[in-house]
Amino acid sequence: MQLARVIGTVVATTKDAGLAGRTLLVLQPLSPRHESVGLPLVAVDSVGAGRGEDVFFVRGREAAYPFHPAVVPTDASVVGICDTWTCDAWDIDARPVEPPQGRQPRARRRAKKSTVESGT
């Protein structure tokens, strides 16, 4: 799972029947320091998240589990809203291991920082 911020919504009238009534959110994955990591993606909401909120999302087949027994064809779903997180890390390099598609904006290296509050 990964941290992300909800940066938008998608409206699609013509869509798979399994997506009917579901909220589609545009997410920007975040590092624990609130830096953007990788490309924005679209995820189905399962917890009532809204724009500007910090959330975490699950990828892959498991993204369909929150909606069971309904069949929702999604490979990414928001499964929690973050109240806060703390990060005690040494220098984190946010380079993705496998860029999802093609070139990836290389995340910057930043100096150490002790605590990050969500939603700032």
């Binding site: 998608v10 699609a12 013509t14 798979d16 997506l19 064809p73 999604t74 990414a76 999802p100």
Partner: protein
């Protein structure tokens, strides 16, 4: 899921028999602002999308959860046509 723009169609006479009757489209993944990003992919179309439309593409095993794809050897499916996209980049 990712956002993509339909840029073409694929015609393949010889293919896995479970793909017979499937419409295959070439999709260019795009950022929310429409800027292309990365290489194109081929996705099975389940919503009757057309060239130049912005669509939602689901990948991996979840693609087989799209309508009618349960037993097909597909790893990407177009499952929605985007009418409106509202993104606040500063959010």
């Amino acid at each position: 899921m990712i956002l993509g723009k339909v840029v073409g169609t694929v015609v393949a006479t010889r293919k896995d028999e479970r793909l017979i009757g499937s419409k295959l489209l070439i999709v260019q993944p795009v950022l929310p602002n429409g800027e292309p990003r990365g290489g194109t992919i081929v996705a099975v179309d389940t919503v009757d999308a057309g060239v130049s439309e912005m669509v939602l593409v689901v990948s991996g095993s979840s693609a087989r959860m799209a309508a009618g794809q349960a037993d097909r050897p597909v790893d990407a499916a177009i499952i929605g046509i985007v009418d409106d996209l509202s993104v606040d980049a500063s959010a």
